[in-house]
């Protein structure tokens, strides 16, 4: 194979992005506050199908989001370009949009004094090695991974896809109130979806690995995970419905925490849309539950030194000994709730204003591994995957009803696999029914840190 250029796009380093944002913010006039957030990234994506490269994408992208607040009115505009004329148009459009919004005294940018109250954590989220890996090395890696999954086990009949992706991402934030910050991070990921069984009984299994650089990807782990998860469900049948203890695997736990996370959102609380309205200080979960949002752990894919408004990220305790500690806030919701920001402003790229959200939820692990957790229980449903989370769960009403597949466990022994079931309860009931947290820890692409969870009772529907 011959070497090929990674990308011919010029590489803008974060200080230049910051200078651009500061030029935009510097145009604030009179009572106006202006904030600019710019991103630039270089990404590689390789997809393998049927043993050969199906697609290979190498690209750079960039964009800017500009927020204007004037006399309590907020406007926003974004563009997928950093060209001067486009940036000027975007600022003009954000100003125009601000004229049409209705005023809210709590609107406004974070001032420098507020941002300076805490020191931003020093996190190493960038690995220079990724930039040095050439395309052929990545291609060889993903082709080999695909071949290994395909030939790993006689029950694997095909590989749905094997993929590699990486990104080198830089961002800058500046405001007319003195905020100035830059961040850069790298990410590399690889995954494979194995297809096991025959045409009468097909199961798929997903394996993945994520890291800050190519060198740290664990292909053995991807292989083992894809094979185990596809083959262990072969022969799955629909069981008879019953009320049953349920064990969530780390990825399913993370999905559950994802649904729960909306309840800690300060904006949802202010608008009466949180399960936890007026419940601070109350027992909302079993007393063994310890839950925090911790973006300061650099191993988490959700780690960040500062939030979407330039405020230092920190560990926010959400549930301690089962007791609700409080809500997460950005500048706006903090002012409205008469409290201080928790550094929880999150941006969905450059295309939206900062909302409120979690970055890296984690539960404090318990003393036992998943096998020990079920050893002294009678019958437990081990849930490998859930489906329909976005339609079957409602973070406002707390309803939780999702499709699932997994394995029946009796006295710690993994027995027959099951499919075409739903498991249902409500989020508040599930929190109180948590009877064990595993000692396994999985860093997931979403930023959530998953651990196995045992929930004493849910309704399993079946035949």
């Amino acid at each position: 194979m011959t070497g090929v250029p990674q990308s011919s796009a010029p590489h803008v380093v974060a200080p230049e992005l910051l200078a651009l944002c500061q030029r935009v913010a510097g145009q604030a006039a009179g009572t106006e506050q202006v904030e600019a957030y710019a991103l630039r990234g270089r990404e590689t994506d390789i997809d393998v199908f049927d043993g050969s490269i199906e697609s290979l994408s190498v690209a750079g992208s960039s964009g800017i989001g500009i927020r204007v607040v004037n006399n309590g009115r907020q406007g926003f505009a974004w563009a997928g370009s950093l060209d001067d004329d486009v940036v000027a148009d975007t600022l003009a459009e954000a100003r125009d949009n601000a004229k049409f919004a209705e005023p809210d005294e709590h609107n406004g940018l974070i001032d420098q004094a507020t941002a300076d109250e805490r020191v931003r954590p020093q996190l190493s989220l960038w690995d220079d090695r990724l930039d040095a890996v050439d395309l052929d090395t990545k291609i060889d890696f993903v082709l080999q991974l695909d071949a290994r999954v395909r030939n790993s086990d006689p029950r694997i009949r095909n590989v749905e896809s094997t993929s590699y992706g990486d990104g080198l991402l830089e961002s800058a934030l500046a405001s007319s109130l003195g905020i100035a910050a830059t961040n850069r991070r790298t990410i590399a990921s690889a995954s494979s979806v194995a297809i096991a069984g025959d045409s009468d009984d097909t199961q798929t299994g997903y394996g993945f690995s994520v890291a800050r650089t190519f060198e740290d990807l664990d292909d053995d782990a991807i292989l083992a995970m894809a094979v185990e998860r596809s083959t262990r469900l072969l022969g799955a049948r629909q069981p008879v419905g019953q009320r049953i203890a349920v064990m969530f695997d780390p990825m399913v736990s993370a999905s559950f925490l994802g649904v729960l996370s909306a309840a800690f959102n300060g904006e949802a609380m202010l608008k009466g849309r949180s399960l936890f309205c007026d419940r601070v200080g109350e027992q909302v979960a079993a007393s063994l539950v310890q839950l925090a949002d911790d973006p300061t752990d650099p191993r988490s894919l959700g780690a960040a030194p500062y939030d979407g408004e330039g405020v230092a990220c920190r560990v926010n305790q959400l549930i301690v000994d089962g007791v609700l500690q409080g809500f997460l806030h950005n500048g706006y919701t903090a002012r409205r709730a008469n409290t201080v920001t928790t550094g929880s402003a999150v941006r969905g790229g450059y295309r939206s204003t900062p909302g409120v959200g979690v970055r890296s939820l984690r539960m404090v692990p318990g003393p036992h591994n998943p096998f020990e957790m079920t050893a002294d229980r009678g019958e437990v449903l081990y849930v490998q995957a859930v489906h329909g989370l976005h339609s079957g769960t409602n973070p406002i009403s707390g309803d939780f009803s999702v499709g699932a597949e997994g394995i029946m466990v009796r006295n710690g022994e993994y027995q027959e696999p099951v499919r075409e079931i739903t498991i249902a309860s409500t989020v508040p009931k599930m929190l109180h029914a948590i009877s064990a947290v595993g000692n396994d820890v999985t860093y997931l692409p979403s930023g959530t840190i998953g651990t196995s969870l045992l929930i004493d009772e849910m309704t399993m529907s079946g035949s």
Binding site: L56, N158, E160, T204, S461
Partner: protein, 466 residues
């Protein structure tokens, strides 16, 4: 034209200098605007602008792809060179590309009636939001909060490829969403209504924001009195419009040629065989006037078509994009779509629907001994390799002895797509569509799904009732 034809020709020729049998330039210029109303006030207006090009080069089974926001000839040539990386190891060679200019396309036949959203004053858009809030709150004192949003997009695309194609399209879409939260003895409940069409601001001549708001509010209030849904296998009646998304997910995806080729479809090798009840006909129609998933040409420059996929229960064809069609030496079915110029196109649905039957919808309910009646589904998920699906019911009722009795909450429908298709035992003579965003491999595209009121003889319902 966003890019002059001679520039496209040079970029395509350059992209093929290292070899390869196909090259394509896709150019997109999209403006979007939205306004959000929440908590009794217009919170925010947002405007977006996205403009760039994606270039791909196909060499054997490999596609090389690069995209750029730089639409100068130099920027396009550089992106083309990066995409040509896929041609490494190929023999290389020169190729001259001449594109034939095809007339500009418009996604609506009667485009003279399109009121382009960028020509409408922002104050008219936000006035709609205020009206929706008032109407929703009038429904009941139990309505605790109302959020509403307006969104429009105007997307211009241009496609040129080394086969000589050069075409363009202008796509305008408008959507209005209302979500309400009601509070009662059973806690908080939500209701949502969010129609969208391939129309400009004239959308609001057809859709009345007051009635959208009342529908959302009534849904939330109804759920306050809902009983927990039952669990187990039972008859399920899907109201017109409500179940289209279920067939989109559980059946439509399995008919996408790329998934069939990937061995990730239960419909592989089933052409010409009975895959559904004889009452079932499934059509994907990118030409459906003013629908949410409609366009004149797809994102590979191929004309939109009306494709019959299942006819009276017999599988007749899959959906195709250009790449899969070329491999099979057949024509694309006009189903090659991409979210933005930053993405590669793949086989996607447009407006997918089940054909109407001849039964009175009321008679279907009267004929149902015990089951549930689904009025709105909340989207769902399917494993196309197995056909297993799960769907949330966001508005549903119990049917007992042929009568709709009580509203139910927290129901999930679980089943297997092909199996449910064979279990359709009644199809109504009514019809409605549903508006949504379909996700596949991380790309979202606007789609609609539609169906007449119909009944599935047996489906697993997962509720919380003990």
């Amino acid at each position: 034209m966003l890019i002059e034809a001679d520039v496209c020709e040079r970029v395509l020729a350059n992209a093929l200098t290292r070899g390869g049998e196909f090259a394509e330039v896709f150019v997109e210029d999209r403006r979007s605007s939205s306004a959000r109303y929440d908590d009794g006030r217009v919170e925010e207006l947002t405007s977006g602008r996205d403009r760039g090009a994606g270039i791909r080069v196909i060499v054997g089974d490999t596609t090389g792809f690069a995209h750029t926001a730089d639409l100068t000839e130099r920027g396009l040539l550089e992106a083309g060179a990066a995409a040509a990386a896929a041609a490494r190891g190929a023999d290389g060679g020169q190729r001259v590309v001449a594109t034939r200019l095809v007339d500009r396309q418009i996604s609506r036949a009667d485009d003279s009636f399109v009121i382009l959203p960028e020509t409408v004053d922002k104050s008219r858009k936000i006035e709609l939001l205020q009206r929706a809030d008032t109407s929703a709150r009038e429904v009941s004192g139990a309505i605790r909060s109302v959020s509403a949003s307006y969104a429009d997009s105007h997307r211009r695309i241009q496609v040129a490829n080394s086969d000589g194609l050069s075409t363009s399209d202008d796509q305008v879409r408008t959507r209005f969403m209302v979500q309400c939260v009601a509070n009662g003895d059973t806690g908080m409940q939500t209701g949502m209504e969010a129609p969208g069409r391939g129309m400009g601001f004239e959308f609001f001549d057809d859709f009345d924001v007051e009635s959208i708001a009342r529908t959302a509010a009534t849904r939330a209030v109804t759920l306050l009195d809902a009983v927990p849904a039952p669990s187990g296998q039972m008859q399920v009646v899907l109201k017109r419009g409500a179940g289209g998304v279920l067939f989109h997910e559980a059946c439509g995806h399995g008919l996408e040629a790329d998934l069939v080729h990937r061995d990730a479809s239960v419909f592989k090798d089933r052409i010409g065989t009975q895959v559904a009840s004889p009452l079932v006909t499934v059509i994907d129609d990118g030409t459906y006037a003013r629908e949410w998933g409609t366009f004149a040409v797809d994102d590979e420059g191929q004309r939109a078509q009306r494709n019959v996929l299942i006819e009276n229960g017999i599988l007749t064809d899959y959906m195709w994009d250009l790449v899969r069609a070329r491999k099979q030496e057949r024509r694309s079915s006009g189903n090659g779509r991409r979210e933005t110029y930053r993405n590669l196109p793949m086989v996607r649905m447009t407006n997918t629907f089940l054909g109407v039957g001849d039964t009175d919808p009321d008679a279907i309910i009267r004929d149902t001994e015990y089951g549930i009646y689904c009025v709105q589904l909340g989207g769902g998920q399917v494993d196309t390799a197995t056909g297993d699906f799960v769907f949330g019911v966001t508005e549903g009722y119990l049917i007992e002895h042929g009568e709709i009795t009580r509203p139910i909450r927290a129901a999930q429908l679980v089943g297997n797509g092909p199996q449910s298709m064979t279990l359709v035992d009644a199809v109504g003579n009514d019809f409605e569509t549903w508006t949504g965003t379909c996700g596949k491999s991380g790309q979202g595209v606007p789609v609609s799904a539609g169906q007449p009121t119909l009944r599935v003889a047996r489906m697993t319902v997962g509720g919380t009732a003990s």
